[in-house]
């Protein structure tokens, strides 16, 4: 499994260089930022990756940065690191969609596992975004048909349920196959599941 790039935002120079060094030994691509504002400005141009944010920074907290990033569309998996181990901040972090919450100093094992999980989440995230993009091309009627196909209904059953002729249903299926780029019923089911889920 290839690791997504990691973006580390921490105001402490020592922490930045140590973590760069450590993650480097794992072959993980890492980019570090000392200033949250600078990262916020760069983020839209960056390749999707995992965010490793320090909770306590001057002027802006890791949580606030996370919210601002989400607001500009960088809703990437985020890990918050803190020296505080503060339960309140922790609770709010999970509510805000942060995938993990680590207490500093972080043991390498814990950190690598969290990063791998976040990277997997990013893959799912990308996959879901792709599926959603495909499903979004369908008309309402096609989406209905896709849903029924995904549940294992036959053309005749769909035609009866929707009060259409079997030929019309087949036409819909052909259009769906073309728009989604696959004729596999299993793939239909997968795309219907992840592409339509909120």
């Amino acid at each position: 499994m290839t690791m997504a790039p990691v973006y580390l935002v921490d105001d402490d120079e020592g922490v930045r260089s140590a973590l760069s060094l450590l993650l480097g030994t794992y072959g993980i691509r890492i980019e570090t930022f000392g200033d949250p504002a600078a990262f916020l400005a760069r983020a839209p141009k960056l390749k999707p990756g995992v965010l490793l944010l320090d909770l306590r920074m001057p002027a802006i907290t890791g949580l606030q940065l996370h919210e601002k990033l989400a607001a500009i569309g960088c809703d990437w998996p985020t890990i918050i690191c803190t020296g505080h181990g503060d339960v309140h901040a922790c609770r709010r972090a999970f509510k805000a969609g942060v995938v993990d919450f680590l207490t500093k100093p972080v043991d390498e094992q814990v950190l690598i596992e969290a990063l791998q999980q976040a990277s997997g989440a990013l893959d799912v995230h990308a996959e879901r975004a792709e599926a959603a993009k495909l499903v979004a091309q369908l008309t309402d009627r096609e989406r209905e048909v896709l849903d029924m196909v995904g549940r294992g209904w036959s053309t005749r059953e769909i035609a009866e349920a929707l009060q259409l002729s079997p030929r019309t249903v087949d036409t819909h299926r052909a259009n769906i196959a073309q728009k989604l780029g696959t004729t596999s019923v299993a793939e239909f089911a997968r795309l219907a599941l992840i592409g339509q889920a909120p």
């Binding site: 402490d12 020592g14 922490v15 260089s17 140590a18 973590l19 060094l21 450590l22 480097g24 030994t25 794992y26 306590r56 001057p58 002027a59 020296g83 505080h84 181990g85 503060d86 339960v87 309140h88 901040a89 709010r92 207490t103 500093k104 100093p105 972080v106 043991d107 390498e108």
Partner: protein
């Protein structure tokens, strides 16, 4: 935190004594007025009673005398009828005359006179009857129509005559002792009485007194003619009244004594109440001061505890960063060593030991944090308005002394939020104190700190603003960092503590420079869905 000196209530003794004297004088004056009014009232009513007495006895005497003099007219009529019935005056006339003398002792002599020569035809006399001068009678009735009577003076004082012409040849004369017109027991003992004719007094009793003319002590008079066509008499009564007589000494003294006793009682009750009120006020002031001191002590205690926690937390945070670097670097070092075939060499062992020591230090920090982060039970719902008002009242004592104005602006409705009231008070207290320091540092004479609370959607905002010089741009981003302070002797924990507390209740705190210069700190706290606060529940 320094315990603020609370000013003692001013000593109430001096003004109290003055007040007491004033009210005493007023009461004494009132009492005197009351006495005078009571005296006037009783004198006037007594005098009216006396006037009525005099006029009533005067009238009844007048009535009695009028009846008596009318009897004289009746006697004359009877006598002349008898005298005319026979050519010669008979024994009948004499008989009737004698019985009149017997039954009416004031008629002392009855004479029948022949006209015009003036000789006595018949005469009846009682013991003190005088001898009539017939010529004088003849002269008195001369020119008088028959059956008419006339009054005449008598030679003896106190006597008068009543004469009647019967016809051309006869006249009858009565000698009347005026003193007997009033019977002894009828004479009023308390008044001077005069019954007089035009020629002089018939009766005169009581010493003549000079007419007094003072306000109340005037002489009471009764003066009336006796209703008779033939006997022109006049009755007068005089009652001299002295002030001493009018003033009822005993009732007045009684009234004075009773009212004085009443006043003294009222005065002592008043004084007692006053004393009680003063004592109560003193007790209340003392308990208020005590409550303030307790509040301060509670705040100071919370501040010590929280400051300790904040300090430990700050130290932990500061140590965490280098520790993180140390651990990660050591772990990276071991991986680099392994990649270069240096596993289990002394350098790897040293790095492994570093990893262990860093983890050990981290564990200590975890324990430290767990110790200071031990938070109390879940906060209840409290009215922010009340606690902001409380802490502003407490801070006001300090700011007043420093000559800094403190404004408070609260909404009318309560502001329920889920907080620990003492900790929130501590936050506001810190902000107000910082604001006061800033104002003082700016050296402003019109130093002013304003605290306000307002609802903004589902959030309450508490603003603490001052009119100092504001916050420098390079300080603003680091304001809430632990151990960062712009004050020379500051530890840099105050605002960091405020932030920790506010965040514990899911709130936030921010700082900015106000439009008119000076800093504005805004504390935002989520509104509680429950509207009943614990303060209300307790009430």
């Amino acid at each position: 935190m320094m315990l603020l000196p609370i000013p003692d209530a001013a000593s109430p003794t001096m003004p109290r004594r003055l007040t007491f004297l004033r009210t005493s004088a007023a009461l004494a004056g009132g009492w005197l007025l009351l006495l005078v009014a009571f005296g006037l009232y009783s004198a006037t009513s007594h005098r009216q009673a006396l006037e009525q007495d005099v006029s009533e006895s005067g009238r009844s005497l007048q009535r009695a005398i009028s009846q008596r003099v009318a009897q004289h007219d009746a006697h004359l009529t009877s006598l002349s009828a008898l005298g005319l019935a026979q050519a010669q005056p008979s024994a009948d006339f004499d008989l009737v005359a004698r019985s009149i003398l017997r039954f009416y002792p004031r008629v002392v002599a009855i004479d029948l006179i022949r006209l015009p020569a003036g000789e006595v035809v018949s005469s009846a006399k009682s013991a003190d009857g005088s001898t009539v001068d017939p010529a004088q009678v003849a002269k008195a009735v001369e020119g008088l129509a028959s059956g008419k009577a006339v009054y005449g003076a008598d030679t003896r004082s106190g006597h008068y005559r009543l004469m009647k012409r019967m016809n051309d040849t006869l006249a009858v004369s009565l000698d009347i002792d005026g003193a007997k017109l009033i019977e002894g027991e009828e004479l009023p003992r308390w008044a001077a009485l005069t019954l007089a004719t035009a020629d002089g007094p018939l009766i005169e009793t009581g010493a003549k007194q000079p007419a007094a003319s003072s306000f109340l002590a005037r002489t009471i008079r009764f003066d009336a003619p006796i209703a008779s066509a033939t006997q022109p008499l006049r009755l007068s009564l005089q009652r001299h009244v002295t002030l001493a007589e009018l003033l009822p000494v005993l009732p007045l003294a009684l009234f004075a004594a009773i009212s004085l006793a009443g006043l003294v009682l009222v005065r002592s009750l008043l004084r007692h109440r006053q004393d009680a009120a003063v004592a109560r006020a003193a007790v209340e002031a003392a308990s208020r001061r005590e409550a303030l001191r307790q509040h301060e002590t509670k705040l100071a205690h919370a501040l010590r505890i929280n400051s300790m926690g904040e300090m430990a937390s700050g130290i932990a945070h500061e140590l965490t960063q280098p520790l993180t670097a140390l651990l990660s670097q050591s772990q990276a070092g071991r991986r680099i060593a392994a990649a270069n075939g240096l596993q289990d060499t002394p350098i790897d062992t040293v790095l492994a030991a570093n990893v262990l020591q860093a983890k050990r230090a981290a564990a200590i920090l975890v324990r430290l944090r767990a110790y200071v982060g031990k938070s109390a039970e879940a906060p209840g719902v409290h009215d922010l308005c009340r606690h902001v008002a409380d802490i502003v009242a407490l801070s006001r004592i300090d700011l007043d002394r420093r000559g800094i104005a403190l404004d408070l602006d609260l909404p009318d409705a309560p502001a329920p939020a889920r907080v620990d009231p003492v900790e929130i008070e501590q936050v506001i207290h810190n902000l107000v104190r910082n604001a006061a320091d800033a104002v003082e540092q700016a050296g402003r004479a019109d130093g002013r700190v304003s605290v306000s609370l307002r609802a903004a959607g589902q959030t309450y905002e508490i603003l603490v603003a001052d009119n100092g010089t504001g916050i420098a741009d390079n300080v603003l981003p680091r304001l809430f960092e632990p151990f960062f302070s712009s004050k020379p002797d500051g530890m840099g924990l105050g605002l960091s503590l405020c932030e920790s507390i506010v965040e514990r209740f899911d709130g936030s705190i921010s700082a900015a420079n106000g439009a008119g210069g000076g800093a504005v700190f805004t504390v935002r706290l989520p509104a509680a869905h429950e509207t009943q606060t614990q303060e209300e529940a307790a009430e």
